[in-house]
């Protein structure tokens, strides 16, 4: 384990985050966008755990538990919103859901 250098973890984390960001920016399906957001959260979790292990400070891992808890709740609410939108507009393409404008 300890033979793997910290940079690997961080590069993986950054890569996952960038994948998430690009997904959020370019995908049209709300569910995919949502999954990309989860991906970004998980990349942040990975970075937290990495540093926690590297610095020998458990606080980072505790944070991760909180983030996971919140993410679970958020996933439930987010999916519920997406279903509600679908029922109203018969679509989950977010570029078609643009009623909040001038």
């Amino acid at each position: 384990m300890s033979s793997i250098p910290i940079e690997y973890y961080l590069i993986l984390s950054a890569f996952m985050f960038i994948v998430g960001v690009i997904g959020v920016l370019i995908r049209r399906n709300a569910i995919v966008v949502f999954m990309c957001i989860e991906l970004m959260l998980n990349s942040a979790n990975l970075a937290l755990v990495t540093f926690s292990s590297y610095l020998g400070n458990p606080a980072g891992q505790v944070f991760v538990f909180f983030v996971m808890t919140v993410a679970a709740a958020e996933a439930a609410v987010g999916l519920a919103i997406i279903i509600a939108i679908f029922r109203n507009k018969m679509t989950v393409n977010i570029d078609e859901i643009n009623i909040f404008k001038w």
């Binding site: 959020v24 920016l25 966008v33 977010i94 570029d95 909040f100 404008k101």
Partner: protein, 646 residues
């Protein structure tokens, strides 16, 4: 009673509060009338008590201050709410409450059946309260409180019948005119007060007047102070050039004209000049101005009074003329003579107005004297009392007006010169003429009213008794001030009583030469002859030979019209002052400054924002991913900035 003098001020205020707050609920006219009158009546008794007590004190202890509380206190400026009880203020407060009480009683009958009955008595009581503050105040600020208060009450009472037509407009316009013209004078008075505080560092009468004697202050300062105060006096006391409001003030109920616009409020200016006698005496140029303005006003107003046909208008111009006399007296340094005339004038002019009110009451609101005539047999009491008042104002020997008027004429001659006396005597002659013209047209001659519509009747005794009391006062009121030439060793009692007030001023006034009693009696005889001949002439042409008036008015048609139209002063003021202000307000202030500039800036700012937003709002696309891009770009920019600054 001196220490309880504040009761004389507070009681009318209480009457005002009771009638003003609950009058509508009380409904019963008698109760409202009794509350209104009795508070003033008790105030009169309190004043009388204070007067008797002061009279029993030695001469040098007769000026007492009654301090109530500290009113204003700020960094050196310390204004106490205090009353000064001395010879002058007591004289004035006796006039105010005494005549005021009689007019309150009279109003019980006169205002009978009016829907604003309670409001009328509330205002009258408020007026007495303000006027008492004016005359009793121990400093210029309390005086000013009363000064403004009486102005307010005057406004309220002129416009009392606010829904009634008056001449070309409404009574509300007449009220506004009075208030605005008074404000011009008040502005002068305020400037005078500022200058007094700036010069003497105090507004207390005693301090200011003693400093005026002791400090060496140049005459220019005194002149400015006196000039500003006098501007205030011309507004309140209806002198040239600010007299125009008083004839219009006749729009108010007649008791108001009697109380406020004849007997008391309009004499406030005379009182103020008299109170500040030392300041005026230190400015000889302004004294001259006061005398000249007074003289001109007296002549000017008397000449207008000759041809007016509204009974109250004649009396209004007569009041202006008589006020001119008072200022003439003050201007030539005869302050006690001016206050003496204030007193006698209060008696006979209140009586004339109340008599006129009684006639108007009996003639169903008709005010044109050309539509009267022969009322003698219908209203014997009004006739008799009116005759006494008319004789008094004409200076008939032995009546009150004779003593005060001749005192003034004598001082005008002694301190002013022959021209002053001549114009004064001429005015006295005109006065006798117009008042007996009024008298003849009203009470004598043939009856010129429609018998089917109008049934003249005598007024109830609640109105005639005050008339009789005032008639008695008009007869005997002058005997407190019998001139030295008749009373011998005792001298003039009224003058002696007031002398300590004017002692500092006396020392500064220049007296011309030496005049003998023979001269005084001679001048007096001439003025008596002038007055009697004017009375006879008026009685003759207006009862016996009507053709003469026609001939005279035809021969001097232009001059007659000039007088009938009051020298076109109202029209001149309209053209010179009122209309330029109106047009300036409309065209410059309203249409240009307000509508164009101010509204333009406000609306313009809103328009600019609207135009800019029209473009900026396009940013709000409503597409979530666009917002996400902006957020990412923002974060990237911040990160870049952090990295570059490391």
């Amino acid at each position: 009673m001196i220490n309880y003098i504040y009761l004389a001020v507070i009681l009318p205020l209480i009457g005002f509060l009771i009638n003003g707050l609950f009058g509508r609920k009380i409904k019963n006219e008698i109760i409202i009338g009794i509350i209104g009158s009795s508070t003033v009546g008790i105030a009169f008794l309190v004043s009388l008590g204070a007067f008797l007590q002061t009279l029993s004190l030695p001469v040098d202890q007769r000026a007492n201050t009654v301090e109530l509380f500290t009113w204003l206190s700020a960094n050196g400026l310390n204004i106490k709410f205090a009353y000064l009880v001395d010879q002058l203020s007591l004289t004035m407060s006796l006039i105010v409450t005494g005549v005021g009480f009689l007019i309150h009683v009279y109003s019980i009958g006169y205002m009978h059946g009016d829907k604003g009955y309670w409001r009328f008595f509330a205002y009258l009581n408020l007026f007495i309260f303000a006027m008492m503050n004016l005359v009793l105040g121990d400093n210029f600020v309390v005086l000013f409180l009363g000064w403004e208060g009486v102005g307010l009450c005057s406004y309220l009472l002129i416009g009392f019948w606010y829904d009634k037509k008056f001449e070309k407009s409404t009574t509300a316009d007449a009220a506004k005119k009075a208030f605005i013209v008074n404000r011009i004078g008040d502005f002068g008075f305020l400037l005078g007060m500022f200058l007094i505080y700036y010069t003497f560092d105090s507004l207390n009468f005693h301090e200011v007047f003693s400093k005026a004697q002791s400090l060496s202050i140049n005459e220019t300062t005194f002149s400015l102070i006196a000039l500003f105060l006098f501007i205030g006096a011309t507004g309140k006391s209806a002198q040239i050039p600010l007299y125009v409001w008083l004839p219009d003030a006749m729009a108010g109920p007649t008791p108001v004209s009697a109380l406020i616009h004849a007997a008391t409020m309009v004499t406030a200016g005379v009182y103020m000049v008299s109170r500040a006698s030392i300041l005026f005496a230190s400015a000889p140029a302004i004294m001259m101005l006061v005398a000249v303005i007074g003289l001109l006003t007296a002549l000017f107003a008397a000449s207008i009074g000759l041809v007016q046909n509204d009974i109250k208008k004649v009396l209004a111009y007569s009041t202006i003329s008589q006020l001119g006399y008072m200022f003439l007296a003050a201007g030539v340094g005869a302050f006690s003579a001016s206050i003496f005339h204030v007193m006698t004038h209060a008696f006979f002019k209140a009586l004339l107005f109340l008599g006129a009110g009684s006639v108007i009451h009996g003639m169903h609101e008709e005010q044109n004297i050309q539509h009267y005539g022969g009322l003698k047999k219908y209203m014997p009491k009004t006739y008799a009392t009116f005759l006494i008042a008319a004789l008094a104002i004409s200076g008939f020997p032995g009546l009150s007006g004779f003593f005060s008027k001749d005192e003034i004429l004598w001082y005008a001659y002694a301190n002013g010169g022959f021209v002053f006396w001549l114009i004064g005597a001429l005015t006295a002659m005109l006065t006798a003429f117009y008042i007996f013209r009024l008298f003849s047209l009203t009470f004598l001659g043939e009856e010129r009213f429609d018998h089917h519509k109008i049934h003249p009747h005598e007024s109830p005794s609640v109105m005639t008794i005050p008339l009789i009391i005032l008639a008695v006062l008009s007869v005997i009121g002058g005997y407190v001030g019998i001139p030295e030439v008749f009373s011998g060793e005792n001298g003039n009692l009224f003058e002696k009583w007031l002398a300590p007030i004017y002692e500092p001023a006396e020392q500064k006034i220049m007296h011309y030469g030496f005049h003998t009693h023979t001269q005084e009696i001679l001048l007096m005889a001439i003025s008596i002859i002038l007055a009697l001949s004017a009375i006879y002439f008026a009685l003759y042409i207006y009862t016996k030979n009507k053709n003469i008036t026609e001939n005279i008015s035809n021969r001097f048609r232009k001059f007659y019209n000039l007088l009938l139209n009051k020298y076109y002063v109202d029209e001149i003021y309209d053209a010179a002052v009122v209309n330029p202000i109106k047009i300036g307000s409309e065209k410059v202030l309203w249409k240009f400054t307000d509508s164009f500039i101010i509204d333009g800036i406000v609306n313009g700012a809103a328009k600019i924002i609207a135009v800019i937003s029209e473009y900026i709002r396009k940013i709000q696309t409503g597409i979530a991913q666009f917002y996400a891009i902006v957020i990412v770009a923002g974060i990237a920019a911040v990160l870049l900035w952090i990295i570059l600054s490391l």
